[in-house]
């Protein structure tokens, strides 16, 4: 379960007041809100990439507010995919496993499995330059899930994709939702995405997160 308790963020002129909500284990939550309301800041704070002014973040009952991003065990897909420009797609999918000292055969097996599922096997030895938006997002998704995190944060992963590509990615995310292996918090401002994917829906208004 992802539990956010009275979390507040202050960064320069930007301020997000005490926010509280919880995503049950294995559920796919969609957080909606207008552009610029602080959705990305909230995701970054949960991932440990942005300092918090107050409050707590708990993952599966364990408080992680003061842990480094790597120690939280969260997969994170930013809006622009943020791929590593000098690495091949294979190395993206192997990156987190190599960091953990996984055996070469295990890394290869996991990469193959992810590439099959994401339909990017033909791209494994390419670098990010020249990948389409949909391909880049699938690589970013694979990279975030490679080390089998229990939690996944998605920051508007479909916003820059055309209709066909979006359909494919929605299918993949739907598969992820049905497997219920990962607790997902998906941020978007598109209600159609929320309709197709959400187990639980949250709305961000006036610096507060409310269910529904």
């Amino acid at each position: 379960m992802i539990q956010i308790e009275n979390l507040s963020i202050e960064q320069g002129a930007f301020r997000l007041g005490e926010v509280s909500f919880a995503v049950p284990t294995g559920k796919y939550a969609v957080l909606m809100g207008p552009t610029g309301c602080g959705k990305t800041s909230l995701l970054e704070a949960i991932a440990g990439l942005r300092p918090v002014a107050g409050g707590r973040v708990r993952l599966g009952g364990r408080e992680v507010t003061d842990l480094t991003p790597g120690d939280r065990g969260i997969g994170y897909v930013p809006q622009d995919a943020a791929l590593f420009r000098t690495m091949t797609v294979y190395n993206h999918l192997a990156f987190a496993l190599n960091l953990r000292g996984a055996a070469r055969a295990a890394v290869r097996q996991r990469v193959t499995e992810l590439a099959d599922w994401l339909m990017i096997t033909h791209l494994l030895y390419r670098r990010p330059v020249g990948l389409s938006g949909g391909e880049a997002q699938r690589v970013a998704l694979g990279r975030a899930l490679s080390f089998r995190p229990a939690y996944l944060l998605l920051d508007e992963p479909l916003s820059s994709l055309d209709e066909d590509t979006r359909g494919l990615l929605v299918e993949l995310l739907n598969g992820l939702r049905k497997s219920a292996e990962v607790t997902v918090l998906h941020v978007t401002h598109n209600s159609a995405e929320a309709d197709r994917l959400a187990d639980v829906r949250f709305r961000m208004t006036d610096g507060q997160v409310v269910e529904g």
Binding site: E44, A47, G48, L49, T68, P69, G70, R72, I74, G75, Y76, P78, D80, A82, L83, F84, R85, T86, M87, F95, A96, N98, L99, R100, G101, A140, R143, A144, S146, F147
Partner: protein, 331 residues
């Protein structure tokens, strides 16, 4: 008037205004070319003094470029990625060599090495150079050379093995007897004071060139989004691993650019070298000093020939920079 005609007039007037500068540069180089003959160029290149100057220029500029990168990468990264108290002051300090008259930099270096700290450094390099090279420089270089191997062997925290390799090399050198021989041979070969000796040429070049390298690296890291490094953090990297695995590889174009700029600045450096290193033939003479020395004794042909050599090198460096550094977006 048609839209096409109006556009053409606009672009032509811009071209005419800017073209004045292009014409000036081409005219200067053209005048040099017309003045020099192939014989005078060949004659100059045959002179042992000028050959020494070419060699010293190439070696000192290379050392300066490497040292500049060594400093510019960490400083550029700090300026780009962190906000700390006093950062604007430190950034201003680093920019000082860019705006300071070159002669003042030379004079400041000369005075620095007349102070107790400078005198101590001079005494140390004169007596302990062999020791420093054997037990500090060689282990450090060994650690860097083995870095690519370490990264493959140690799948995580490879950077922790860097000091381990350095210490291992020190131990091997110390207890195999190799260190003693190496130390005395390096001492007799490189043991030297600094002022008016070869090290002063490198320090004078470094004092100016490094500032340009820092600027380049800072802009490079500014143009690389920190988001990829942030993702690397969520995947389990420490800040340092994210730097080595993501930021540094992505900055390779900037690295080439910064190294080339530092090298080119070092090649053109004259004022600080003249004051701090002197212009002694076959000792501290670099190409820019050669032009000055040849000119001062009235050998215009030789001065022009060396100038042309520097123009050729400058053009090659600029072409390299355009190929690697300034083309194809940031990094």
């Amino acid at each position: 008037m048609t839209a096409r005609g109006a556009n053409a007039r606009f672009y032509i007037s811009l071209g005419l205004l800017g073209g004045v500068y292009v014409v000036l540069i081409v005219a200067m180089i053209g005048a040099d070319l017309l003045f020099a003959t192939p014989e005078s160029l060949w004659e100059a290149l045959k002179s042992p003094e000028i050959q020494y100057a070419i060699k010293l220029s190439l070696v000192s500029c290379l050392v300066t470029a490497v040292l500049s990168l060594w400093v510019a990468v960490p400083l550029g990264y700090l300026f780009s990625r962190t906000r700390f108290w006093g950062r604007p002051i430190i950034e201003t300090i680093v920019d000082i060599p860019i705006v300071l008259p070159p002669l003042v930099i030379g004079l400041s270096l000369l005075i620095l090495f007349q102070r107790p700290l400078g005198k101590w450094i001079e005494a140390t390099t004169a007596r302990q150079m062999g020791f420093l090279l054997t037990y500090v420089a060689i282990p450090m270089v060994a650690a860097v050379v083995f870095w690519p191997v370490l990264r493959r062997v140690a799948r995580s925290h490879a950077f922790l093995y860097l000091p381990a390799v350095a210490v291992l090399v020190v131990v091997i050198l110390r207890f195999s007897g190799l260190g003693g021989n190496l130390e005395s041979s390096l001492q007799s070969r490189f043991g030297t004071r600094i002022t008016f000796q070869i090290p002063s040429v490198i320090i004078a070049q470094f004092a100016v060139s490094c500032a340009f390298a820092v600027r380049t690296m800072r802009v490079t890291f500014d143009q690389i989004s920190p988001r990829a490094e942030n993702v690397a953090l969520t995947l389990g990297c420490t800040r340092s691993q994210a730097f080595w695995n993501v930021a540094l590889p992505e900055s390779w174009r900037g690295l080439v650019s910064a190294g080339t700029i530092a090298w080119a600045r070092a090649l053109g450096e004259f004022g600080p070298i003249l004051v701090f290193a002197g212009a002694t033939r076959m000792r501290t003479e670099v190409l820019s000093t050669t032009v000055f020395l040849e000119l001062s004794v009235g050998r215009l042909e030789a001065a022009i020939a060396v100038s042309l050599l520097m123009v050729i090198v400058a053009v090659v460096v600029l072409l390299l920079m355009r190929t690697f550094g300034l083309r194809g977006g940031p990094a």
